[in-house]
Symmetry: C2
Subunit: 475 residues, 2 copies
């Protein structure tokens, strides 16, 4: 056989790859077998011949041949080394892929949405805390101390429910800061809110069952429930929070009801006490689980609330938690042993210490003050620049304000135009659970990452973008 | 009204809780409203009276009342502060929970299995690396450097696919150590194998579709697929790896085929080249996805393989990865943006540095040598002590040997008895995807965490436990 092609490929690869010669030769031969250049039953060159040809030690060639034989690509026969029949490239190995839009499962196909990359610091990104105010040096100290105190036992999977010290610290924190009464056994440490929602969906509901979500609502919850195979039911939201019509309980009885009672996401309304109690009664009657996201009513009076996990912990650390009713702690613990491999106990130890030392509470107080200032600055700037363009709704807490567009232009068009001015404004229509209805038109404006002194200028730019878009429509 | 009960509760709570007085009073009043002690329309004591009674400042009482009013529990009327009608405890709030066995979804109900806690260091725990050999001091150095170099941008969510540096380091590693050719865009960083499997199940299959799993097989895969609502189909495994009967492709056409070709879990057989190619052809014809777990054939000749993520990275760091075909990188990237909030970029930076510096490869080489010694020691000890009791199968790599029980006693009984001797032996029947068939009887014996000098004694104890259990049966 003519193996000049092989020799040429080898020479090109060995200079490009900086891998050991024997390794490059092995890969060239395997590639030649796979693409049919070396046909089934075809004989490989004698090792001495090939070694001379390539200017390498015979042992290196032997190594490559042995490895090919060992893996089944070639056979050693009386006539020398031949390509094994099993290695035949007679069919194209691997499927011809369909167009990308069709390759994913149906349940995740409509989850995709356009994301702006590297935009986490611009005005008015929402859902990202003031990253420049994270007490980095202090946190580094906790991390370093935790790694220094580590024992081999801390490197294993540990308890799938989380490190006991962190569970206790979270339980104490919830009790004091949030009025949630729970024992540490009810607290399960997760990798964040998204993981908590994923687990709840699979732990408490089967495929095909109804999951109620607020409309408009949090896309992360939609993703979790939909990808768990649940049937989503959008529930309308008004100024008093989510308001399921009485008939819905009968027509589409939920297995899960997802609510953001303290600060509806994205509209910002607060679920009234009357509705809360009614919801509990109705869910009880329907044997449905209520998944309460972000219980932050304690902060309401004193300024914008800062959700515990969503502050420092959520992006940088990826540590979240969920609190389950006492009767569920044992079965959830068992199921999590199979569904989630934990670990990362060192980070958990550091966070527990951070909370217990009081550093976390101090950070929260500082951030609450900072976010209150930034929220006020945003409100004032909106007042000055966007009269007649936007109406602010909600805003009792959190890290964003919601605003309705009062001019006849679509929020997605404004958002697109704003990007060119380095402004990220999230269209509220993007949180619509029934996009075809086109019922929502406005923006979520995050202020957590925008310094007070930049606010006025940024809002003025936004106002000009909206005006220009509206003019464009009118033309 | 008689509020002596309230006063008594307050006094008890305030001394026990060490919370601010006003806060304790607020909680006592709220509890009294919730349990009906303070009935709807009932009037709360005048603030001055209550302050005198409790020996606290009137302002503190006012604070508690205002907060109750603010949250909707009480109303300020001309006749004083009264309990709001909406706060009526007329029905029991919250469901009477069913028995724990019935509260979880059907799909996770049978995932629960008994787990031994805090047993990660004992012989013969499987799936846990040699934790005491983790180069802790060195790793701590990488972590500290990464935290010192951190910028606020690194604290955000970043790219949901993972930090580019780590994606590139993994792609390079796979290419050099595993013979997997992939670009860094195909590498997606996850929180570990379980997360990768969870994502694959939801990204590529819909509820009700068939997912093939090896039998016996990896429980983590079963948990991922079942909790995604897929229909599990057990596929038989023999000495050449998994062997699906031809009729199965027709009768239960899979959407996903999960295989552990390099080292079948738990039996340890290696999928032959012929079967590999056949599998690819059949899966292509069926438009099924192959999910290949743990591609470690490169290590086979040189001693036990050490899976990349399953070595240092998996428990301590919770960083894993998955490699997808080129045509899928864009749609998977999009979907992950919704399904998984990432972050933890600092750890990823540290790991990328750890790999690129060569420290990881060095660690792998050391562990490969260590595990080879421990594997040999286990084989020798089994030879000496368990003739006629156990037959070792597989063992071409990994961190465990599998052994079949040759005496008429059930593996679960032996495992139970072994625990009393501080021996953890995982019954192979626990990996049976059709437990009712009771086809497998034996153990997975992990050696990664057992020092060579302890091996003989530990195996001798195991032999005695098996003999005693068999005798107990014969009696």
């Amino acid at each position: 056989m003519d193996y000049s092609l092989l020799v040429a490929t080898y020479r090109r690869s060995v200079s490009a790859d900086r891998l050991p010669q024997q390794r490059v030769l092995y890969e060239c031969l395997r590639a030649a077998i796979l693409d049919g250049t070396l046909a089934v039953h075809g004989r490989l060159p004698a090792t001495r011949t090939l070694a001379d040809e390539l200017g390498m030690a015979r042992n290196s060639v032997l190594y490559a041949y042995e490895r090919l034989a060992d893996e089944g690509w070639v056979l050693a026969t009386r006539h020398g080394t031949v390509v094994a029949p099993a290695a035949a490239p007679s069919v194209q190995r691997g499927p011809e892929l369909e167009t990308p839009s069709a390759v994913l499962s149906r349940r995740v196909r409509n989850l995709r949405r356009k994301r702006e990359r590297n935009a986490e610091h611009q005005a008015f990104v929402s859902g990202v805390p003031a990253l420049d105010r994270v007490p980095l040096a202090q946190w580094r100290g906790f991390i370093e101390r935790a790694w220094r105190a580590v024992s081999p036992a801390d490197l294993g999977y540990g308890n799938s429910a989380g490190h006991p010290a962190l569970r206790q610290a979270v339980a104490d924190y919830l009790r004091i800061a949030r009025g949630v009464r729970c024992s540490f056994e009810q607290v399960f440490i997760t990798d964040g809110t998204q993981t908590s929602l994923d687990l709840c969906a699979r732990l408490f509901a089967d495929a095909g069952e109804y999951a109620w979500v607020e409309n408009p609502g949090y896309n992360g919850a939609r993703a979790a429930f939909q990808s768990a195979g649940l049937n989503l039911v959008p529930v309308p939201v008004d100024a008093d929070g989510c308001a399921p019509p009485a008939t819905l309980w009968r027509d589409k009885p939920p297995k899960l009801v997802y609510v953001t009672p303290s600060h509806q996401y994205p509209l910002g309304s607060v679920l009234s006490l009357e509705r809360r109690l009614q919801l509990i009664d109705d869910a009880t009657a329907a044997s449905a689980w209520i998944i309460e996201d972000d219980y932050d009513s304690e902060f309401r009076r004193e300024g914008p609330p800062l959700p515990a996990v969503q502050g420092l912990a959520r992006a940088a650390l990826r540590i979240g938690y969920m609190v389950v009713p006492p009767a569920l702690t044992a079965p959830v613990d068992d199921a999590l042993g199979e569904l989630a491999r934990r670990g990362r106990l060192v980070d958990q130890v550091a966070l527990a210490e951070f909370i217990e030392s009081g550093a976390y509470a101090l950070h929260l107080r500082r951030m609450r003050r900072l976010y209150a200032q930034r929220c006020d600055a945003l409100r004032d700037a909106l007042d000055r620049h966007t009269r007649g363009l936007l109406t602010v709704s909600g805003g009792a807490g959190g890290m964003h304000l919601s605003a309705r567009l009062d001019v006849p232009v679509r929020d997605v068009e404004v958002a697109e135009a704003a990007l060119a001015q380095r402004l990220v404004v999230q269209p509220i229509s993007g949180y619509d659970m029934m996009p075809e209805a086109a019922g929502f038109n406005g923006f979520v404006l995050g202020y957590a990452g925008v310094p007070v002194e930049h606010m006025d200028e940024r809002v003025a730019v936004l106002a000009r973008v909206i005006e220009a878009a509206a003019r464009g429509k009118a033309d």
